[in-house]
């Protein structure tokens, strides 16, 4: 019983910190607004004073439910008493803390201390709302709400989510689904080429027509996702396959974008090169940079390599921005009016751009996929597992590391050129360290060394923040929390890499004990 109560107190403390944090940053009010949007009792013009306090109560209760549920889930023995006690204690304890907190801000408000000089989000109006409309009994309300919702959460978690009957239902449904999938008829459908082609045709149809329907905004967002897939595929070769932790990946992106920009922009050189040719040059320039960077540093490994490449990324950006090269790169103002591709005399619009990005992404996935399962890919994986042994197995590690860097850089060069051309602009601020971090994040979130992982990761990292637009300023906060949760729940990534089943495939193709010709198989 003591450990159960301790466990409840621990969760209560954590949850109270979360609630206080939400109050201080003003997230509670935003959440109440969102709840209002869901129920329809709030519209865009509703002032804070008119915001129904029931919404805040719902937000607090939801947090309490989570607190009770997770507290009851973490009890040592799986009994009803433990679950209920632990959940209730968690609720009550967090209620106690929060009650003290709202009491304090209530007093501050009463004494007309302006807390906004410390935290801009808790002005008098906000505090009034957080006190359920300035009620003196608000702290008891918090205590009561959280205790009850904690109890309810614990009961819900124990009685429904973790109940045996539900687990049974889940297991049964998974089993019957697997049995269904494994039926010969179903397998035949899956393995049928026509069905596969039909799926591909449907996907192609969607990719072709969706952009014409969903408008320029989504074309822009999805185009960015596409460019990040390109970057992710490149970095996946460097980090995921060959195992070199390169943190200055943005440098190759910048080289691609600037090569493209300098070759096509009217300022400062007025070369006016054709789009397609400029793309090729951008890719080559990035790959060359990869080789040049690789030559001196590839004897470094791990942390040292990370630091050196981190510096390299910043050097490129600062060089672009520097006074010394202003005549050559246009300095901080960047390059504008970059050329756009033309096809049959027609300049590309946003839909065409999206299509172009998709085509490049498909080509890149095709190349990356074939590389991954080749002799080269195996050499990379071997190097990432154990460089010393890989070398002693006859792999020229230097050559393969360099190759990985060059190919990975080439993908980034393509991404950079596409990015610059689409925006018709590129400046030093497009190539900050954050790009490297984002790309590395998407590779890790998706699953190191996994191609579908890169695609999923790019959608999660660049697409989901757009879906969270409703959260306004708290977008990145929520997004960060989401990332943490994802990594806790799926540490291998969302779609971890698998290795090819070569033995099975080979013997399927060349049956081992195939009877001699002419004999009939019984």
């Amino acid at each position: 019983m003591r450990t159960t109560i301790k466990n409840g107190i621990r969760f209560g403390a954590i949850i109270s910190v979360v609630i206080i944090f939400f109050h201080l940053t003003g997230f509670s009010v935003v959440a109440a607004n969102m709840i209002g949007g869901l129920f329809g009792n709030v519209d865009k013009n509703t002032a804070l004073a008119q915001l129904p306090t029931i919404n805040l109560a719902i937000v607090i209760s939801l947090i309490g439910l989570i607190a009770g549920g997770s507290a009851s889930k973490n009890t040592k023995t799986d009994s009803w008493t433990n679950a209920i006690v632990s959940g209730t204690v968690a609720g009550a304890f967090s209620g106690l803390f929060v009650a003290v907190f709202v009491y304090l801000i209530g007093i501050a408000n009463f004494l007309e201390v302006d807390l906004r000089s410390y935290l801009p989000e808790i002005g008098p109006d906000n505090i009034d709302y957080l006190l359920f409309g300035g009620k003196a009994s608000a702290n008891f309300l918090y205590l009561g709400l959280l205790t009850i919702s904690g109890l309810a959460g614990a009961a819900f978690s124990k009685g429904i989510i973790r109940a045996n009957w539900r687990k049974q239902v889940q297991a049964d449904s998974v089993q019957s689904f697997n049995a269904f999938i494994q039926k010969p008829g179903i397998q035949k459908v899956f393995n049928n080429k026509i069905v596969v082609y039909a799926f591909l045709a449907a996907a192609a149809f969607l990719l072709y027509f969706l952009p014409t329907k969903w408008g320029p905004y989504w074309n822009f967002i999805m185009g960015t996702v596409g460019i990040y897939i390109l970057l992710g595929l490149g970095l996946n070769i460097i980090v995921g396959l060959s195992g070199q932790l390169v943190l200055g990946y943005v440098a190759f992106f910048a080289i691609g974008a600037y090569t493209f920009g300098l070759l096509t922009a009217p300022e400062p050189h007025a070369i006016g090169m054709n789009f397609w040719l400029a793309i090729v040059f951008a890719i080559l320039a990035a790959a060359l940079t990869g080789v040049l960077l690789g030559l001196p540093i590839l004897n470094l490994r791990g942390d040292y390599l990370a630091i050196v490449t981190l510096g390299f990324g910043e050097i490129i950006r600062i060089l672009i921005k520097s006074d010394m090269l202003t005549d050559f790169t246009n300095g901080p103002s960047g390059l504008s009016d970059l050329v756009q591709p033309k096809w049959l005399g027609k300049t590309f619009n946003d839909v065409n751009y999206f299509h172009l990005t998709v085509i490049f992404v498909i080509i890149a996935i095709f190349i990356a996929n074939r590389l991954q399962y080749s002799r080269t890919g195996r050499a990379w994986l071997a190097i990432s597992a154990d460089q010393t042994v890989a070398r002693a197995t006859g792999i020229n590690t230097f050559k393969y590391n360099l190759l990985a860097l060059a190919l990975g850089a080439a993908f980034a060069g393509l991404g950079g050129a596409l990015f610059a051309s689409r925006n018709q602009f590129t400046g030093p601020e497009d190539h900050i360290l954050m790009v490297s971090i984002n790309v590395l994040c998407l590779v890790i979130v998706g699953g190191m060394g996994s191609l579908p992982g890169v695609v999923v990761g790019a959608f999660v990292l660049k697409g989901v923040p757009e879906l969270l637009r409703d959260l306004e300023n708290y977008r990145l906060l929520a997004f960060g929390a989401l990332l943490v949760m994802m990594m806790v729940m799926r540490p291998e990534g969302l779609w971890p890499k698998g290795r090819p089943e070569m033995e099975t495939l080979y013997y399927r193709k060349h049956p081992k004990d195939s009877p001699p010709d002419g004999e009939v198989q019984s």
Binding site: S374, R375, T388, V389, T393, G394, R499, E501
Partner: protein, 271 residues
């Protein structure tokens, strides 16, 4: 006359002030199973590392079929036809067993990255053949059916065999095994001993091994070299080594030789 596969001449390796290998001469003829034994810290693995290129010796030569190879990079030495295994198993753990063997074939394959992207017929043929050969090797080491498992998920004995299969994939002329039976029970050890013998008998590979299990050493070796404190103290047939005074003293301490003689006399007397 049989050819000499590996020959070291006055080979020395010095770490700081410690001479780990001190002017060691070693000669291994073709199709021999040569063992290196010695107490812990005698410099056996250092000698191995000098031969396989992990260390560059300070002094002396390593000749492979008469050509000096000392100080060359490990990948170069491997592609000449010297493969090795490791004392603590070092497989590519996140790759499958078949892939591990395919990596072992690396120096013999020619496929480049652009061929891999294009999938031209030559490349496809080479890959197909390579996989077939890898599976053949897998069967040879008795791991057929386990090819699609990740190397790290294989049982210990299977990992040792897989490491040997990876080393064999290179079609080596010389196979160096560093304690192939370490951590095995007596049945597994017997299997491994038979397996090593079959490598020499069936594939004609010259084998150089480090081993602590005296039963294995005496059983399969054609020649034994004994190291102690980096120097070679004895060399010869298993029988000669068994009765060598210096060897017994190196293992059991000074004075042990006399004792052992006494026991031996008693033993023969009893018999």
């Amino acid at each position: 006359m049989t050819e000499i596969v590996i020959q070291t001449h006055k080979l020395s390796k010095i770490f700081g002030g410690l001479t780990a290998v001190d002017k060691v001469d070693l000669t291994v003829p073709e199709k021999a199973i040569a063992s290196i034994i010695g107490p812990n810290g005698a410099g056996k693995t250092t000698l191995f590392n000098c031969v396989s290129g992990f260390y560059a010796p300070e002094e002396g030569d390593v000749l492979f079929y008469g050509k000096p190879i000392q100080g060359q990079a490990t990948d170069r030495i491997c592609s000449l036809g010297i493969s090795r295994t490791y004392q603590n198993i070092r497989l590519f753990s996140q790759m499958t067993a078949v892939e591990n063997i395919l990596v072992g074939q690396h120096p013999r394959l020619k496929g480049t990255w652009w061929e891999a992207v294009l999938h031209n017929p030559r490349y496809m043929q080479e890959e197909e053949k390579a996989v077939g050969e890898a599976l053949h090797l897998l069967e040879f080491v008795g791991l057929d059916g386990l090819g699609d498992h990740l190397a790290r998920n294989l049982p210990y004995g299977a990992q040792r065999r897989l490491e040997i299969a990876r080393a064999l994939a290179n079609h080596p002329k010389l196979l160096m095994l560093d304690e192939p039976t370490a951590g095995m029970n007596s049945q597994e050890t017997a299997d491994m001993t038979a397996f090593i013998k079959s490598l020499r008998d069936n594939l004609g590979i010259t084998i150089l091994l480090i081993e602590h299990d005296m039963k294995v050493v005496m059983d399969i070796s054609d020649q034994i070299t004994v190291l102690d404190y980096g120097t070679k103290i004895a060399e010869g047939l298993p029988k000669e080594i068994q009765t060598n005074q210096q060897v017994i003293e190196a293992y059991l301490g000074p004075g042990a030789a006399a004792l052992s003689k006494k026991f031996q006399r008693k033993k023969t007397h009893d018999a």
